[in-house]
Amino acid sequence: MNVTAARTGGPSPLEVELRDLHRRFGDTAAVRDLTLTIGPGEFFTFLGPSGCGKTTTLRMIAGLLLPDAGEILFDGRPVTTTPPWRRDIGMVFQNYALWPHMTVFENVGFGLVERRVPRDELRRRVDDALRLVGLEGLEHRLPSQLSGGQQQRVALARAIVVRPRLLLLDEPLSNLDARLRVQMRAELVTLQRHLGITTIYVTHDQEEALMLSTRIAVLHQGRLVQLGTPRDLYEHPADVFVADFLGGANFLPGTVRGRTGDALVVALDAGNGVATAELHASASRHTEFEAGDRVTVCVRPEALELVPDRGPAGPNLLRGRLRLVNYLGAVMSSEVELPEGRVLRVQVVRPPTDMPLVEGAPVALRVAPEAVLLLRPPASP
């Protein structure tokens, strides 16, 4: 977890600890019960849908917003009430917040002026920062004369030029078009590894989070629902929300029947008198369930294998009808309708050649026991 990247001088990266943070706005609890520690040099991401409290959390860490309760510690020292200008941080705002009356040079140099950096050093450091984000030659432009991507780079240069010990990024890529977003994403990760600054990133885009982060905290309605590495979260989602939010999945309700060897047997709920299908899941992975428990079975679209609808019925084999076929070259994504009417999304990398892949064709779906994920069903409202 504690990434120790090669540093290019400057102060050591910061460790950030949040203890039991709470923040309300009127009747909405924007953040509640938030406790976690962000290691030095980490690229840490808060991920969640719009309105889940990401910005609120980031603003509290920046010192722009005071928590109602709880504590924030930098390297073990409480900073909860320290004003932002004494926190030694860099921040990129979602709308960039570039000062429209200042040139690019003045925008980037602002923090250095506040730190009373001598003129020639200021000049050198601003130039360095601009070079780092690829903006040489635009020093004398005003923000209004820059493209969205360029503005984003100025905001980034402004945040890093002061050599902060902590970098905060609030959905920095959300205002860019898709291509630029992918490019900036790559540059951002290179830059962060190069600088080695502890970075806290906020996004609602799971792809961004998976690609950039050392660890991700998934927030939902102001609460931390899961904390872990991208791989943890994808492979072992804590609940239906996380599984759905990260990558998407098929969800099927069922009941645990019992245990056979290393397999936990789950009977899927049947509709309309159709024979109950059975799925085997890895018992060692799901020690918390026992016979009689209600579960939600979660299967990723790419874990389902499309096989011809013949041969004997068996566990981990679901029969259905091909409903929709989207051939995308390298992958094929399709939907399969089960007899009881449920629709599963399937993503196949190498489509089988020994069967007709037309809409309406009968097919079977196979899933390996390791890919069957059992989750507690969401509390019914």
Partner: protein, 577 residues
């Protein structure tokens, strides 16, 4: 002030939090300071007027004085005259404004922009300046009267008594209706209209069923505002020597009978009631109008139809005719300021520069006083307005609604009432160590002007600050700038233009302020030019000098308006309504 989370133990709030707390101590101090200033210079004078009119010496509230008002035939006549004049001004203004508004909103023709630009001029030009020359144009021996008589053989004297006041004010105030209605018409979503058409509404029915309901609120607001302005304007009746109206009566009671005469205050209370009723109604209508402007998000307001040939000529002629009539008095003032002999002829028969010599060389103090008072009022007003706007938008203090209400209060107060209130409060006070009354110092003009125009400056500051997104300040704080530094380096440079425009607005409106001025002037040496215009215009020999001062006023206003628009870079509407 923390909000606990039910059912959970919450750590106590950290002590000593300045920045970001619910109540910011710095903001609280600033807020209290502003409230104290406004309490002394806004609330107290008004309370003094109300108290004099409605409170018995023993402290009980009484309506007896108010009842006496309605038993006095002179007051009844004055009230009726004021209301009648206001109604006629609105009626004539409507007839002048609506066709023009429709033309400008729906059609494009050469000179269209010039029309909208020129139509804002009367809003800032003082009506009484035009009134100096009105008699010369429309009066018994006026240029137009003579022209009409020579052409058609009819003699009409438009300037006779109350009629003169109505003509002068209608010509002057109709742009209030024109501008609000034109803006509303331009805002009406064309797609709503088209929807009306597809549903079978055409022509008159379309106008009645779809357009009227959408534009009516704007018209009503503009009309009410015009009414208030007309009742408030006592300069025109004074210059035209009409005394049986509310404003002049209030002034006359206080200045001739005395500051302790209850009747003067009672008249003020009646004026305030009329004014508050109109402003309140206008605000209510505008607030209700929101539904009509909600759809403006992705407005498909079609381009205005282009007029060419006779259509364009007709449209422009109509505009020139109406605006010409409205600006004619001011043009006549310019001619008059150079005229030595102008009697029974279309144009003067002899010219002179003597009037300018009089006002610049022999009696320059009027101009000097005006500049001094207005500049001081502008500086003071800008600081107060900017600080108030900042607190209202960004402040972490309770009671913002009170501050807002008090600062906006003068918008519903007639100028005479502000003057009378200032006299009541500050006349009995003397400068420390002297016998000089506070009310006879120059500072009293500065304060009264500042109070009277504060709402306009506050609006300008609000608009300017509104454009500075809060994250710009946040970004500065994160970059290492403490609050005051962030204000100086980020907020101030960004709002300076708009705030200065508000200051210029205070300056120009104060430079031509009449109602409050006439109430406060106690010695001619202190008089600013507006009162001097009145004094000069009362004698036939002084009319030329009055006109010359009027030209100075026009120049100040024209230059100021230009500056305010340049500085703010926003639509003129924000600064005039």
């Amino acid at each position: 002030m923390r909000i606990g989370i039910p059912g959970q133990a919450v750590a106590p709030a950290p002590p000593g939090v300045g920045w970001r707390a619910v109540i910011d101590p710095g903001h609280a101090v600033l807020g209290l300071l502003l409230l104290a200033i406004l309490a002394v210079f806004v609330v107290w004078p008004i309370a003094a007027v109300l108290g004099a009119a409605l409170v018995e010496p023993d402290g009980g509230v009484t309506l007896a004085h108010l009842a006496r008002f309605f038993e006095n035939p002179l007051y009844i006549e004055s009230l009726a005259n004021s209301l009648r004049a206001g109604a006629w001004v609105v009626a004539i203004g409507t007839v002048l404004a609506l066709p023009l508004a429709f033309l400008v909103a729906r059609y494009d023709f050469r000179g269209r922009t010039l029309v909208t630009t020129l139509s804002t001029l009367p809003l800032v030009l003082p009506p009484f300046v035009g009134a100096i020359a009105l008699t010369q144009v429309f009066g018994r021996a006026g240029t137009l009267t003579l022209l009409v008589q020579d052409l058609f053989g009819i003699h009409v004297n438009l300037m006779d008594g109350l009629r003169g006041v109505i003509v002068a004010q209608a010509l002057h105030f109709f742009p209030f209706i024109f501008l609000t209605v034109a803006a509303a018409l331009m805002n009406v979503d064309r797609s709503l209209e088209e929807m009306g058409q597809t549903m079978g509404a055409h022509g008159w029915r379309l106008l009645r069923r779809v357009i009227f309901p959408l534009v009516l609120p704007a018209y009503a607001a503009g009309a009410l505002l015009t009414f208030v302005k007309a009742v408030d304007d006592i300069g025109t009746p004074f210059i035209l020597n009409v005394k049986n109206m509310l404003g002049p009566q209030a002034y006359l009671r206080i200045t001739t009978v005395g500051r302790d005469d209850v009747d003067g205050y009672v008249i003020c209370v009646v004026m305030v009631a009329i004014s508050i009723a109109c402003v309140g109604a206008s605000n209510w209508i505008v607030a209700r109008r929101e539904y009509a402007t909600l759809q403006t998000g992705a407005r498909a307001s079609g381009l205005p139809t282009r007029l060419v040939g006779w259509g364009a000529i007709g449209a422009l002629s109509l505009c020139v005719l109406v605006l010409g009539a409205s600006l004619l008095p001011h043009l006549a003032v310019i001619v008059m300021s150079f005229s030595r002999v102008w009697s029974l002829t279309y144009l003067p028969s002899a010219y002179t520069l003597g009037h300018y010599a009089e006002i610049f060389l022999r009696a320059p103090r009027f101009i000097v006083n005006t500049l001094t008072y207005s500049i001081a009022a502008a500086l003071l007003g800008v600081v107060i307005a900017a600080a108030t706007a900042y607190l209202l938008q960004r402040g972490r203090v309770p009671g913002k609604a009170v501050l807002d209400a008090v600062a906006m209060m003068p918008i519903a107060l007639p100028g005479v009432v502000i003057g009378v209130g200032f006299l009541r409060v500050f006349y009995p006070m003397t400068l420390p160590g002297t016998e000089t009354s506070l009310a006879s110092t120059g500072a009293i003009f500065v304060l009264a002007y500042m109070v009277r125009r504060l709402p306009y400056a506050l609006r300008a500051s609000h608009a300017a600050l509104h454009q500075v997104h809060g994250t710009l300040e946040d970004a500065a704080a994160v970059a290492g700038a403490p609050r005051t530094r962030a204000f100086r380096r980020v907020v101030l440079p960004l709002i300076l233009g708009g705030v200065t425009a508000g200051g210029v607005l205070i300056f120009i409106t104060s430079a031509v302020e009449f109602s409050t001025t006439i109430t406060l002037v106690s010695r001619i040496e202190q008089s600013p030019l507006s009162y001097a215009i009145y004094i000069y215009s009362q004698s036939p020999l002084g009319r030329g000098a009055a006109a010359a001062l009027g030209v100075v006023a026009i120049v100040i206003v024209a230059v100021g308006t230009y500056l305010a628009n340049r500085l703010s870079g926003r639509s003129r509407m924000a600064f005039t309504l």
